[in-house]
């Protein structure tokens, strides 16, 4: 049962073949069996999950009409506040904090009857691409436990790819959903900025952050996307418009006559051979399905990484100022009449990890008087140029495509001491965030040289998220026919399973 898609599980629930309690227990058992090796979860809320499952089962029994994913278990990235459930954003500075409120995403999941099994590991405050920056140790890639699952939503991606959960929620500030989806062989979508409420999403970079869904199929991902998206008056940047018809698009996947733009700057040099090969192959598949492949030029993308690493740290230097030991979380050095300032300083020194400190310092510097125009100001200009590049490209194509990440999953520890190498892994995903548009990563097969998953990225204009699913579903179906079985069936079995 746990190897089925969420849509199939939902059908089994509707038909009475299983119950949510049974389904949830199966997944909790799977977590107990394999998570010692994968370490996808920071906290498993066994009792809360089973209570929620029982409540959904009762509602179903009483004949209540339930939403499509009611009773399906899910893994939640620890960046989203869930009432009375430990929420740390992967940081020691929030160890033991119990939110007194639900994030809007969590409220929507609860309203939809989706069972939240626990909180997943992540790079501290979503700063990182490998989950190695978690204050609680790394998560391991189920395809090869010596490798990283990507990040920052590595815990959520690993949970889905190891069948610990059929669905998961991540957040994507520079690629933190799409890149781990690519590295673990699953589907991940970063919705349009403003499509999913950020209320209760612990902020890293407010103008770039966006929560989104993970699934093992395009349809599952669409079902979750529809459940979590929608306007929220509690988020001033939330878009007041209907949720794009993503489920409909995922069911009717079709690229006949669709113009698909290949971004010149996001392929070739710097991309692993096997990654490029699977990408090219997927393009041929799309062409064979009737899509028209065109090449588009986005010259400003060259500066995207630099702009990102000024804007995101700038915003985070301010967003993370609230972690000061005064009202919640860790408190260090509060003795012998220490001043508030000394306690704040000691707490932040002890509670934040190296990468977080690096970015706070970087951002503080970039916003300083005398440097603001050269750094933060210039980065905003590049952002405008990237938006213009996209506008021109989307005038020529319905969707744009690229490999999601330049490489397959790398070894744990391989890049921790070389931040630039780590940052380069996000070169293809970051432009989407800077422009506030939407993107999907879906499996394109395994790289020949290492037999590890490769991700295919699709991008669409703001609030045209349905195009991702329309193209993604078509490619997924054609590749499945070609492979004969889902990509995850080729993953090695986990110990204890």
């Amino acid at each position: 049962m746990i190897h089925k898609s969420a849509a199939e599980m939902a059908k089994a629930l509707t038909n009475g073949e299983t119950s949510s309690v049974e389904l949830t227990q199966l997944h909790l058992d799977r977590i107990a069996a394999v998570d010692g090796d994968v370490k996808a979860f920071l906290h498993v809320d066994t009792q809360g999950a089973l209570d929620q499952a029982r409540s959904v089962d009762e509602r179903r029994k009483s004949g209540e009409k339930l939403s499509p994913l009611a009773g399906i278990p899910l893994a939640l990235k620890d960046v989203l506040a869930q009432k009375d459930v430990p929420t740390t954003a992967g940081s020691k500075i929030l160890q033991g904090w119990l939110p007194p409120y639900d994030s809007t995403v969590v409220s929507k999941l609860k309203d939809a009857g989706i069972v939240i099994m626990g909180k997943t590991n992540m790079d501290e405050f979503a700063m990182g691409s490998s989950t190695e920056n978690s204050g609680y140790g790394p998560t391991f890639n189920p395809w090869d436990l010596t490798r990283t699952p990507g990040g920052s939503s590595g815990g959520s991606a690993a949970a889905v790819s190891s069948f610990e959960a059929p669905l998961a929620i991540g957040s994507d500030t520079g690629g933190s959903i799409r890149q781990p989806a690519a590295l673990t062989g699953i589907v991940g979508v970063r919705p349009t900025y403003g499509a999913v409420s950020r209320f209760g999403l612990i902020a890293y970079s407010s103008s770039l952050d966006q929560a989104g869904p993970f699934g093992r199929t395009v349809l599952d991902t669409a079902l979750l996307h529809e459940a979590m998206a929608g306007h929220d008056p509690k988020d001033a940047t939330s878009i007041n418009a209907p949720v794009p018809a993503v489920v409909h698009a995922a069911k009717s996947g079709d690229v006949k006559g669709m113009k698909i733009g290949v971004i010149k700057q996001l392929q070739g040099e710097g991309y692993q051979k096997g990654v490029q090969a699977r990408f090219d192959e997927s393009l041929q598949v799309l062409a064979s399905l009737g899509a028209e492949i065109v090449e588009v030029d986005c010259p400003s993308f060259e500066y995207a990484l630099a702009a990102y690493y000024l804007i995101a740290p700038s915003e985070c230097s301010s967003n993370l100022a609230r972690f000061d030991a005064m009202r919640y979380g860790l408190r260090v050095g509060d003795k012998d009449g220490a001043s508030a300032e000394a306690v704040m300083s000691a707490t932040r020194d002890a509670g934040f990890g190296r990468e977080v400190k690096r970015r706070i310092i970087l951002g503080t510097y970039a916003l300083s008087s005398g440097y603001y125009d050269a750094y933060y100001g210039s980065a905003q200009k590049i952002r405008t140029l990237i938006i213009e590049d996209y506008a021109k490209a989307f005038a020529k194509a319905d969707v744009l495509v690229s490999p999601t990440a330049p490489t397959t999953a790398y070894k744990i520890g391989e890049k921790v001491d070389d931040p630039m190498a780590m940052y380069l892994g996000d070169v293809a995903t970051i432009p989407v965030n800077l422009a506030g548009i939407c993107g999907m990563s879906l499996p394109a097969g395994l790289a020949d040289e290492d037999n590890l998953p490769v991700g295919f990225q699709i991008m669409a204009p703001a609030m045209q998220d349905q195009r991702l699913y329309q193209a993604g579903a078509a490619l997924e179906a054609a590749l499945l026919t070609k492979w004969g079985a889902p990509i995850l069936s080729q993953a090695p079995a986990l110990k204890g399973a």
Binding site: P100, F199, S207, S317, M344
Partner: protein, 502 residues
């Protein structure tokens, strides 16, 4: 060396002012969340994830606060920006939950306005124009209470308590351009400006404008330059100026302090100073020599403020009469002498008197009641006149009762006491206390006859034409009728009875 006198200061130095006024808006909810804003609630009871800056919480702008700010801008003759943004002002302080304040930086919502004030000078009434540089929105911080230690300041305190009820209350900051050319009148001009602002804001109903509760706070920047010089001196910024009188005192005090330093060849330090209500002096706060870097940047959690022109014009159409014009109109319409007008403004009764007049009362009568008997009671009880349990409606009714002869002035004073004591409306007090003018001539005549019989000797004097003697008899009749008779009628009937009617 002794402090220079004020006259010595102004003989040599020319003051330049800059005033920053913070106004707490009286919106029902806070600037960026739906928490209540009532003053005086138990600590930390008016808080939520947003104003406590819990992880993940987001601000959403209170539209009413924007509306109030635009109204203020319009009332101060400002231009309204079609596009403005909120910025984050970053610095760490325990009473600021996010460790940044949401404010406006280089894009204020209102800019380039002015306020005219009039003050009495040696050459008579003179008008000064105070130019307003900007009016912008920001959020208030929480409050720190430092416990232990002698001064109540953070240094030397044993521990500090934090109350976040005030955190996130909408504030409007009104900043003047530099105000030169006020000379020796600088303290009075500043006071008149803050008073005018207060009246404008009160008229707009956007703030409680209570300086003593901190809903209107003034920071006064003062510098001196030699008379005739174009070069500005170094300024000090005095905070905690919590009454109109303090504005005047603080500026006068700072002018003297600056002059003393400059006369001795010392430098004025650019710093924040705190006004001491008891001594009228200021003491040094934190030095501003090392400019803090607040790392302002546009708040990415909020969207730009883009008020539609049509909305601005709708708001402009609702602007109330300007306080200075209103005072002028009232003075003319009611024919109020200068001194009385000044007394009304000073006692802050213009609004209630006007409300009473609008209910039909004679302006002079209404003014006399509020400025006289009712003010006296307010002073005795040491509370604001508006907090007494007597309303313009009560006073209008009272004036009507006196005019119709149902009450005498003396009886009416008893009624006022009754109304203030919570006994009900004037009519109810009259009914309950059994107060009424005895105007039954039969009853009066009986009393007169009784008194004349008792004081036959005095009555004879009156009968003989010695009219001053009538006073004693009238007094006795009034006593007999327990003060409820109309003294004029008693006199008339008495003189008639004793053959002295004219």
């Amino acid at each position: 060396m002794a402090l220079p006198t004020y006259d010595e200061v102004i003989a040599k130095w020319d003051p330049v002012l800059g005033l920053e006024v913070h106004v707490e808006l009286n919106t029902k909810s806070k600037m960026f969340c739906s928490c209540a804003t009532e003053f005086g609630a138990a600590p930390n009871t008016q808080t939520c994830p947003v104003c406590l800056a819990l992880p993940g919480a987001l601000p959403v702008v209170n539209k009413k606060a924007i509306e109030s700010t635009i109204l203020i801008g319009l009332a101060l003759n400002c231009k309204i920006a079609p596009y403005s943004r909120f910025a984050r002002k970053n610095y760490f302080y325990p009473d600021m939950p996010k460790n940044f304040q949401i404010s406006q930086y280089d894009e204020p919502i209102c800019f380039d306005g002015y306020v005219d004030v009039e003050i009495e000078t040696d050459e008579g009434l003179k008008q000064f124009r105070i130019e307003v540089e900007r009016v912008h929105m920001e959020e208030d911080t929480g409050k720190s209470l430092h416990v232990g230690g002698a001064t109540g300041r953070i240094h030397g305190a044993d521990y500090s308590l934090l109350d976040y009820n005030r955190a996130g209350i909408p504030l409007v900051e009104i900043v003047t351009k530099i105000v030169p050319g006020t000379g020796k009148y600088a303290p009075e001009v500043a006071k008149a400006y803050v008073a005018e602002l207060r009246d404008i804001l009160r008229g707009l109903k956007v703030s409680d404008v209570k300086m003593e509760q901190g809903s209107l706070r003034c920071d006064a920047n003062v510098s001196l330059k030699p008379i005739g010089s174009d070069v500005l001196g170094t300024r000090s910024e005095t905070k905690n100026v919590n009454s109109l009188r303090s504005v005047e005192r603080a500026i006068r005090g700072e002018m003297i302090r600056h002059a003393e330093l400059l006369n001795e060849g010392k430098k004025v330090k650019q710093e924040t100073r705190h006004f001491q209500e008891d001594t009228g002096l200021t003491r040094s706060g934190r030095s501003k020599e090392q400019a803090e870097d607040y790392r302002y940047f546009p708040d990415p959690d909020l969207v730009p403020v883009t008020p539609a022109t049509i909305w601005i014009e709708e708001l402009r159409a609702t602007l109330p009469e300007r306080p200075s014009l209103r005072r002028k109109r009232i003075k003319e319409e009611w024919n109020v002498p200068d001194k009385e007008m000044a007394a009304m403004i000073n006692a802050d009764v213009l609004d209630i008197v006007e409300a009473t007049v609008l209910l039909g009362a004679d302006p002079t009568k209404a003014r006399t009641w509020w400025l006289g008997e009712i003010s006296r009671i307010a002073n005795d009880q040491n509370i604001a006149i508006t907090d007494l349990a007597i309303t313009p409606k009560d006073v209008a009714e009272l004036v009507a009762l006196v005019a119709s002869g149902e009450l005498t002035d003396k009886l009416a004073r008893q009624v006022v006491e009754g109304v203030i004591a919570g006994e009900g409306t004037p009519s109810e007090v009259v009914a309950q206390r059994g107060i009424k003018v005895v105007n039954d001539d039969g009853a009066l005549m009986a009393a007169i006859e009784k008194v004349c019989a008792e004081q036959a000797e005095t009555a004879e004097k009156v009968r003989g034409g010695h009219l001053p003697a009538a006073g004693a008899l009238i007094g006795a009749v009034m006593k007999e009728t327990k003060g409820q008779a109309d003294a004029a009628r008693v006199r008339e009937l008495l003189l008639g009875h004793l053959g002295q009617a004219n």
